[in-house]
């Protein structure tokens, strides 16, 4: 057990014991190698389930709004619970966004911030293995020892299988917390911000179109990307609305485009680039390339950053008189 994990468990036990929180949302080991699962701890006795390691990839903010919803059909008084949560930089930014959008109450939230060196992307490990599966894996310092289902062993540098979001991450510590555990992360981003978008922009329109045709024809409309996204908390998504009906239920390319353009747009000025959608996608589609484009524009056009503080207004719920109009045919 590492130091952070140990301290985390101790702190959570204290918080549960003294009634500061009723439930703590963290990560626990899942049964498959290099996978964790969200974990809801309600008693100090259970804190040993909590883990902290290089595979705490999922964005836990996604799980918070539901905890503050009054149970359907419940009669009488109901007090929302006091909730604790462990947050990497990206989780904390999503939490900031959710507080601003009034989906979760700041005063019933206890955030434990943890510095993050970047998380492992399971899909990348899978790709390194090729057509065989991952039978076992052990993270050991800066590398991970993997065993394929074919019995072959391989040592992989974590740097080579780091989640793409983590490579570019500029905010490796929680931007909002009640308590921080562990040390500040040492490493600086290795890839320049928006390198992927800039490269993609340099392609010809035809190439760009063909890229998305190729990617989106893989989509099976399972909505894992949406469900894993902390910003997609709508009770009824536009993709499933029937009046008006924005798109069909098919995997016809046209419908898939409308879904993904619509969803990406709904993240405009809100996406913290946690990579949850990419990690969740069973088809390995790089949706970041879409969302990051909007982030880049938001940053360049409106000099706005997404969810870094509770005070700042989000890009699309504000404006400046002198905002750029160069995109207009006739301003």
């Amino acid at each position: 057990m590492n130091q952070v994990e140990e301290t985390l468990r101790q702190e959570v036990a204290k918080l549960l014991e003294d009634g500061t929180i009723d439930v703590f949302v963290g990560h626990e080991a899942a049964s498959l190698p290099l996978k964790t699962s969200p974990c809801f701890v309600r008693s100090p006795k259970e804190v040993d389930r909590l883990v902290w390691n290089r595979i705490c990839t999922s964005n836990l903010a996604t799980y918070l709004p539901q905890l503050f919803k009054r149970p359907v059909g419940l009669k009488g008084e109901w007090t929302p619970p006091k909730v604790g949560v462990v947050a990497k930089g990206c989780d904390s930014r999503s939490i900031v966004g959710l507080i601003k959008e009034k989906q979760i109450p700041r005063d019933r939230l206890f955030i434990i911030g943890v510095g993050c060196e970047g998380m492992i992307d399971r899909h990348s490990v899978g790709r390194a293995l090729g057509v065989v599966g991952l039978a076992d894996a052990k993270v050991d310092g800066n590398s991970v020892q993997v065993i394929g289902t074919d019995g072959r062993e391989k040592r992989i540098d974590i740097a080579d299988v780091l989640a793409a979001s983590c490579r570019e991450c500029q905010h490796r510590e929680a931007v909002l917390s009640n308590l921080t555990v562990g040390e500040a992360p040492s490493s600086a981003p290795e890839v320049s911000h928006y390198a992927n978008v800039a490269e993609f922009e340099s392609k010809s329109p035809q190439e760009r179109w063909e890229h998305w045709v190729g990617e989106l024809s893989r989509c099976i409309r399972c909505y894992a990307c949406r469900q894993a996204c902390p910003n997609c908390y709508c009770e009824e998504c536009f993709a499933e609305e029937t009046a008006p009906k924005w798109l069909g239920v098919t995997t016809d390319l046209s419908d898939v485009f409308v879904f993904h353009l619509g969803r990406a747009f709904h993240q405009a000025g809100r996406c913290v680039d946690c990579g949850a959608c990419v990690a969740a996608c069973p088809q390995g589609i790089d949706l970041r390339l879409l969302n990051q484009k909007i982030n880049k524009d938001v940053e360049e056009l409106f000099e706005a950053q997404v969810s870094l503080s509770l005070e700042e207004a989000e890009a699309l719920s504000s404006f400046r008189m002198e905002d750029d109009q160069s995109f207009m045919t006739e301003p």
């Binding site: 899942a30 049964s31 498959l32 190698p33 996978k35 964790t36 699962s37 969200p38 974990c39 809801f40 999922s58 996604t62 799980y63 539901q66 149970p71 359907v72 059909g73 899909h123 899978g126 790709r127 090729g130 057509v131 065989v132 599966g133 991952l134 039978a135 289902t149 074919d150 019995g151 099976i220 409309r221 399972c222 909505y223 894992a224 949406r226 469900q227 894993a228 009770e235 009824e236 499933e240 029937t242 069909g248 239920v249 098919t250 995997t251 016809d252 990690a279 969740a280 069973p282 088809q283 390995g284």
Partner: protein, 340 residues
């Protein structure tokens, strides 16, 4: 039954020959491992992978299809012709899943013509598994890595050659088409096959499956569902990658005077799955939805179709973004059943 061997160097030729008169589907390399897809060029076929990341149900039960079209006040039937199709290299779990799907789409004597038109023209050559995947548990749910159910022929990878065994008349006829390329299987081959089968079965970890349906029914209000449901994100991944999930939705699409009625996959994990026209939704929590997924497979299907609707392919486990593992769930359910 016909038993033969095919030198591995001739597999491409074999597939080219069989693919002449029919559509050929087989595993090909993909960024997510392998995927089952229509292949025009047999050199792309990859038989070295695990089961494909997505199941092959798409071939007989596509993600969406038009049931009929309409124009002003007139409805037009869609043509129900389907081409002869060969599914080569399907894993035994997937082949068995087809047999389960057949039961749904012919349930109580009501045939689904959309499904059957494709299914009836489908010939399945399954490929036995030498090495199971990380989440495979076929042998715990009545299948086997060398299972024959649902297949017309079964192949074994013996290293230098493929061993092929016809299981149905259709399979036999198919293999005969390529008899110029194959040889009669020897006793030695047959022994090698038996050994491979034993090896494969040994590698699978048994998962205790709760079979006491009355006890499962009792679990309806158990805490375990709340516990699991709070992790579940409510996506469609597990249902869409599952070879036996078969729920669908029907919607109309219209466009200035014309329209069509479409059926498309659906998933019980979606919150809108049970939303009534009145606005009432009987399944209000993700816990209730997750429970539906598991109980449908392990309680309601055994009641309706005589068998659990899970072939142990492990796809819902490897693909679940929330790290939920059906095997662990079944284990917990089993111990629950024992206690109550």
């Amino acid at each position: 039954m016909l038993e033969m061997t095919l030198d591995k160097s001739k597999v491409q030729e074999f597939l080219r020959l069989l693919g002449q008169n029919r559509r050929l589907f087989a595993p090909v390399k993909d960024r997510m491992g392998t995927k089952f897809s229509e292949v025009a060029d047999p050199s792309l076929v990859c038989l070295d992978g695990l089961n494909t990341n997505l199941s092959l149900k798409e071939v007989v039960f596509p993600q969406w299809e038009t049931l009929y079209t309409f124009e002003e006040d007139q409805a037009n039937e869609v043509k129900l012709a389907a081409q002869e199709t060969l599914l080569f290299g399907a894993r035994p779990c997937d082949a068995r899943a087809l047999e389960l799907l057949d039961r749904v789409f012919t349930w109580e004597g009501i045939d689904d013509p959309y499904y059957l038109r494709r299914r009836e023209k489908t010939c399945v050559v399954a490929l036995a598994c030498n090495t199971p995947g990380e989440a495979c548990f076929c042998s715990s749910v009545g299948g086997s890595p060398v299972g024959e159910v649902g297949a017309d022929a079964l192949a074994f990878d013996l290293g230098k050659q493929l061993y092929l065994r016809a299981l149905t008349e259709r399979g036999e006829a198919l293999l005969k088409e390529a008899s110029t390329l194959t040889e009669k299987a020897t006793e030695e081959d047959k022994q090698a096959v038996q050994q491979a089968a034993a090896e494969a079965e040994k590698q699978l970890q048994p998962v205790p499956i709760p079979e006491d349906l009355a006890a499962l029914k009792e679990s309806f209000d158990a805490e375990i569902w709340e516990d699991l449901g709070q992790k579940c994100l409510g996506c469609g991944t597990c249902a869409y990658v599952c070879p036996t999930c078969h729920c669908f939705d029907i919607t109309d699409e219209t466009k200035k005077g014309v329209g069509r009625r479409v059926r498309s996959w659906d998933s019980c994990a979606f919150s809108l799955f049970t939303l009534h026209g009145s606005g009432h939704n009987p399944r209000t929590t993700q816990a209730a939805r997750y429970r539906q997924r598991v109980l449908h497979k392990f309680l309601y299907c055994p009641e309706n179709f005589g068998e659990a609707f899970c072939v142990g392919c492990g796809r819902c486990i490897t693909n679940c973004p929330a790290g939920l593992d059906l095997r662990a769930v079944l284990e917990r359910l089993g111990s629950l059943a024992k206690v109550t």
